[in-house]
Each structure stands twice: as structure tokens, then as C-alpha cells.
Symmetry: C2
Subunit: 218 residues, 2 copies
DNA sequence: CGTAACTTTGAAGCGGCTCAACGGATGTGG
DNA sequence: CCACATCCGTTGAGCCGCTTCAAAGTTACG
């Protein structure tokens, strides 16, 4: 989906496969790329085929807020990028496909609604949830998006594309607080992970209760 | 815009003028009403003619997050209310007019973009700004929306429809913290108010710098 | 190995929250 | 008219959850 591709992290390995299919307008994006829509995609909606994108926004002094994490099937609205309201970045090899304003009208409409709904849920999280509630919410959200075909329904397992500091910037916390919450959940058997980037939800309903603020804070 | 109108605060005076103009679909809403769109407005976009609405969302235990504050000209998307993603409430006598999906297509598109952009800015505020930065941002936003014709450009004056606890729920703070910030700004001459619901911005650029995190925290 | 990047863990500090008291404004009834 | 209640805002004191700072542990990769 890129006209210009800017390596965002200085040291991250950089690779790009820019496949332009004749009928479907589709492109591949390498990890750690900042997405810059080509001019003709200025107001387009693009669907993630596979991979993972984060959408973020920053204060002048560099404090960052990650606004959303997009997995397979989610839709990114390029107007947000072109108007300077946000930046999008790939966290792994990611495939995006341009939706057609007319053919995919319903899908676009639905995606717009979902984006707004998620923004509202996220505001509730940022403004009113405790750190443990935030982390629990994030894990369940990521499981929904990225555990499509791995693990069971009640014990989903997924690749965590975000690093601790990215989780922190998503949740309005510090990376240390995120790490402590995750270790805590692990100790309690609510989740499991050996590698830091591979998570398994072990007690989904318990996590759900925590995420919704219904669990005693012990 | 209401089919059923539910008095939300128990003690607030209740009055309603339900004007249904023949051509323009337009209605009046009394203060402190929870807005419930009539069935035929299920997915409509409605523009605020005058008045003030808040859009909010809650956790099961009652913690509330105010998601947006809408003044004259702003557009509310009813689908957010009908899907249970949010509630809307009037803070004063408020006039709303249904936009036409076809005639007002461009206006709706623009409003959608604005809503999303504001949600993003709000997330940045909630997740990454300090209390003083939050309050400064809120004051400037409200000045932009509600000081249309009062005060000067650099010294806007406006009616503050939100109470301290509503400001707090908007900014992810407590009402005490909001009160302390406002008193602090007043003491420093950045703002002025005698009645608690009538604000004047006195040092717009200084407030702007604070809002953007560019001011020393002294 | 050795370095770099990321994570974990600990200890200390602080910003915003909680709890509490007071003050001003408005309304109501005697 | 005053006594009293209610609601909202302000202010203070103490505390706690998260951040900050620091150091050690882990993983990946040359």
C-alpha cells in the first residue's frame, strides 16, 4: 500500500515485496514500515489480509499513544494517515488489499462502525480502567484477533506481535507495569508464555471478569 | 430526536418541546435527558443546532467515561446509541436536526472523519497527558465549540455546560483534580471565572502550550 | 563468545486519588 | 425573615498505584 516506505526503527531488518495484482489492488508490507498511502489511495479503505498493523499518534515531545491494533480482516482508513491524524506501522509482514468504495460499501460501513466502537471502548479503558484490567482487556482483544486457528476456543493461543513497550503505549502504561501484570497473570495461571511473543489464554472467563472490572483486585 | 425520553438525573427540572417540522426533521431536547433515537432514526446522523450533548460509556460497576462533548454544528451518529456502544445526554436545551443520507452526504462524511479524529486525539489525552495538560486541552476545545460569538478571538468566553465531575469523567480524572487544576490556572491568570459555569480564556497561547505538553510543568 | 535488544525484577518517589471538612449558592418551609 | 437542607465546588491531608530509576536476566545473532 506504500508509495514511499520509510524505515521507522533504525536498526530493524528491512524487506519489501510489492506485489501489485492486476485485478485486486493488493500489496505486501515488510515489518517495521511506516505506511504512507499512495496518492490515489488517499481516502481509501484497505483491509488487512494477514499480518499486523498498529495505528498511533504522538505528542510533540514524543510521548506516543497507540490507538488501535489491526489484525486479519480489520480495515484501515487511509484518510486518517493522509490528514496527519495518525501513523500506521507494520509489526510483521503484512498484506493489505484496497476495498472498492462501491462494491465493498457495506463492508466499509461496518468497518467504520467497528473502528468507532473500538475507539470508544479504548477510551473507556484508557480513562477508567486499572492496569490489570487494561492488560487483561488487551490480551482478550489480541486473542480474538490473532488466535483465529490456534488453540481452542477457551484456550486461545496467539503470536504477540507487540513488544512490551508497544503494549504499554497502547494501554497508557509503562512497559514495566505491563511486564509486571503479565508476570502476575502467568504466576496465577491465567495465561501462559515461555517465549515473550507467544501467548496462551488459560482462564478466559477469569480474564474477562478482570477486564470488565468485575473481579476483586486481590 | 427521542422516542422515549428518560430523565437521567432524578432531581433535574424536566421539560420537552417536541417540534416535528414538516420538511426538516428537527427536535428539541430538554436538559439532562438520555437520548433514545426513534426506530426510523436508527442509523441516522443528526446535527446539533444549538445546545450541548455528551456521549458516554460505562463499566459494569458504574465507572464512566465521557467520550465526546458536542456543541453547535457537531454531528451525532445514532448507530452508536442503538448498538449500545454509548449513551448520549443533553446538558442544556438542545436542538437536533436529522441529516439526509443523500443530500448531506458530504457533511456526514466530514463529520465521520472529525469524530474519528477527535476520538484519536482524546485517546492521546487519556493515555499520555498529565492532569494539567488534560484540563488545558479541554478548556481550549470547549472554547472552540462554545465561544462562537462571545469574547474575542484571543480571549474567548463561554458557558461551561459540564460540571466538575463531568469534566473529570471526560478527562479520566477525579473532580477534585479538575477543580485544583482550574483553581491553579485561575490563580496564574490563564483563565478567569466567577460563576463556576462561565469561563474565559485569558492566555490562549500559554494554555495551548500546556495542552500540547510544551510548557515547563512549574 | 560478545554485543545489542528486550524483558524482568526491585526500590524509591510522586502524581493523582481517597477521604474528609468546609463554603457558597439555591431552594423550601415555618 | 431566618433555619435548614441540598447540591456543587474548593481545599487539605494522607495514601496508593503507577512511574521512574537502576540493575540483572534472557534471547537472538554476528
Amino acid at each position: 500500500m506504500l508509495e514511499h516506505i520509510e524505515p521507522a526503527g533504525g536498526s530493524v531488518p528491512f524487506r519489501l515485496t510489492n506485489t501489485q495484482a492486476p485485478l485486486r489492488q493488493e500489496r505486501w508490507v515488510a515489518p517495521q514500515m511506516t505506511l504512507v498511502p499512495p496518492v490515489q489511495w488517499r481516502d481509501a479503505a484497505v483491509r488487512i489480509g494477514r499480518g499486523c498493523l498498529i495505528v498511533s499518534h504522538e505528542l510533540p515531545d514524543g510521548r506516543r499513544q497507540i490507538l488501535d491494533v489491526l489484525g486479519q480482516g480489520r480495515v484501515l482508513f487511509c484518510s486518517m494517515l493522509t490528514h496527519g491524524t495518525a501513523k500506521a506501522r507494520s509489526l510483521t509482514f503484512t498484506n493489505v488489499e484496497r476495498l472498492d468504495e462501491h462494491c465493498d460499501r457495506d463492508a466499509i460501513e461496518e468497518a467504520r462502525h467497528l473502528a468507532m466502537k473500538r475507539a470508544y471502548e479504548h477510551a473507556l479503558l484508557l480513562g477508567r480502567k486499572k492496569s490489570t484490567e487494561k492488560v487483561a482487556t488487551a490480551l482478550l482483544d489480541l486473542a480474538d484477533q490473532f488466535a483465529r486457528n490456534t488453540g481452542t476456543q477457551m484456550r486461545p493461543s496467539f503470536t504477540l506481535y507487540l513488544m512490551r513497550n508497544e503494549l504499554a503505549d497502547w494501554l497508557g502504561l509503562t512497559l514495566e507495569t505491563v511486564s509486571r501484570c503479565l508476570s502476575d497473570f502467568k504466576r496465577k495461571g491465567l495465561i501462559a508464555f515461555d517465549r515473550t511473543d507467544r501467548m496462551t489464554i488459560r482462564e478466559k472467563t477469569a480474564l474477562r471478569a478482570i477486564a470488565d472490572g468485575l473481579a476483586p483486585s486481590t
